[in-house]
Amino acid sequence: MIVTYRNPGAGFVATLLATSRAYLQRSSAYLIALIRWPLGPLFTFATWRVTYHAAGNGSVEGATVSGFLLVGVFGLITWTSSIWASGYAVEYERGEGTSASLFLTPASRAAVVAGYGLGSFVWFLPSFAALAFLAIVTGARFDIGDPPAAIAATVSLFVASLAAGFAFSGLFILSRKANLIANVLQSPAYLLSGLLIPLSSLPAWLRPLSGAVPATQAVVALRRSVLLGASTRSIGADVLHSLAVSVVWFVVGLIGLRVVEYVAKHTGRLELF
């Protein structure tokens, strides 16, 4: 029979969707993965909720502690999925022994990386729902004055996470220590993007670094729009800041991915694990 091919745009989308489907199928083959992902963020939320309680904090930056942490853990989940799915995509393939098979195809590497991110996001959906429930039960109060503002902030958070995933995926191809790098980057990112503690408590010398993390302003915008009733106009600057930083990270990531694949092929390190 004659094989027919898609046009490049449709091919990109098909690769993205197929990768995310395959990611979900592979991940759901493990019982422990099915248990871990919904439960992990709940434990993190609960731990920090008790920590704030122990510290005697009743509210954070005008919001309830539970509401503040709900948005923070939501950001933490998207960040985790970007680093450990998009960023880690090639590393997963290496571990599975399929990186060569993947690099032998003409598929867009960006589509594969984005597919991992999408799959991971879908994977976390039950976790989002359970987290929101737990937050409400423990006293979270919402004030969504302007739904488009909340949507814009959420979208900017996803874009920020995906941009970070792209930026890291290139780095991870070249390094045999991707797991190490991902782990090292994780904790500073939690601190700098104000996911679990308010940005206002950070020392002044850390704040400029904080602004260079794409998720930081997106989380601020999301908190203000869903917890404090902020309008689209008032969070506009935060969203734009986040998107601008995301674009920089995204472009750096895309260039990095190409350069790094070339360097990896030059040095013969593409399949090394």
């Binding site: 992990g40 008790v50 122990a54 005697g56 904090n57 190490l180 782990n183 994780q186 601190l191």
Partner: protein, 274 residues
């Protein structure tokens, strides 16, 4: 005719010691030289240091006493992570490398190489613990008033209990696969109930029940009292008794669980499948 010297030792004790030493050296070499001395140490330092930094920013203005507790809690957290990630996860890493079967084919007792791996991972653990204590003392001004003998005793009992749990995690990883997921899940569970960031008493009453049957909270509390407030053996007696029970029961339970689940996996026939 001269008698040839057997190349393989028949003494099971010698095999056990040899296996423990070899796995200890293999892991230590891997961690220090192959990953680079600065490699995973970075991970092991970044996490506690930044977590302590966050807790410091939270607790500093509210309750400085909690900060001292958190320093001890996070220091102990490094040893808990050793049990989770080195004893618990190690077999899955071997499976991924394709070397798990070779381990099981050796006549050495499981306990010997599992212990060897745990000791091999102590390098990062000790660096991490030291950095946490240093940060607490230098940056957050935490002061220690230790009862050395009590600290040593509490620490030894705590470590024994942790390794017993580590063997159980390891066995669970054999059967569930993807031990990293398991270790991460257990780690977040332990951080909630283990009294690492805060004393177990800060938990809601209904969460204190499961927290009390785990060795983490009682161990950390005893170590915090012994190292920060010069607590005497008398004051520590209730915690020490519970710690002794954990230290006696958990290693045995761990080995029994390991044996049971290993047989189950062999029956299922997917020991090497990742």
């Amino acid at each position: 005719m001269s008698q040839s010297i057997p190349a393989v030792s028949n003494s099971s004790r010698r095999i056990a010691v040899q296996a423990a030493r070899a796995s200890f050296l293999a892991k230590l070499r891997e961690h220090v030289f192959i990953n680079g001395a600065g490699g995973y140490v970075l991970v092991w330092v970044a996490f506690p240091v930044i977590t302590l930094g966050m807790l410091g920013l939270l607790y500093r203005s509210r309750d400085p006493a909690l900060l001292g507790y958190a320093v001890i809690g996070i220091t102990c957290g490094a040893f808990i992570s050793n049990a989770l990630y080195y004893v618990g996860q190690i077999l899955d890493e071997e499976r991924l490398e394709g070397t798990l079967i070779n381990l099981f084919l050796t006549p050495a007792p499981r306990l010997s190489w599992l212990s060897g791996f745990a000791f091999g991972g102590l390098f990062e653990t000790l660096v991490s613990a030291a950095c946490t204590v240093l940060l607490g003392t230098v940056v957050f001004g935490v002061r220690f008033h230790p009862n050395i003998a009590a600290v040593v005793l509490c620490f030894l009992l705590f470590i024994l209990a942790l390794w017993g749990l580590g063997f159980m995690f390891s066995a669970l990883g054999l059967i569930l696969k993807r031990s990293n997921d398991l270790a991460n899940l257990l780690s977040s569970f332990v951080f909630l109930l283990g009294g690492i960031y805060y004393p177990v008493s800060a938990l809601p009453v209904w969460l204190r029940v499961p927290a009390d049957v785990l060795p983490f909270g009682v161990g950390i509390q005893a170590l915090a009292a012994a190292s920060l407030h010069d607590a005497s053996f008398g004051t520590l007696a209730p915690q020490l008794v519970r710690l002794e029970v954990f230290a006696a029961v958990l290693p045995v339970l761990g080995l029994l669980t390991f044996g049971w689940l290993e047989r189950k996996v062999r029956r299922r026939g997917d020991l090497e499948i990742y």
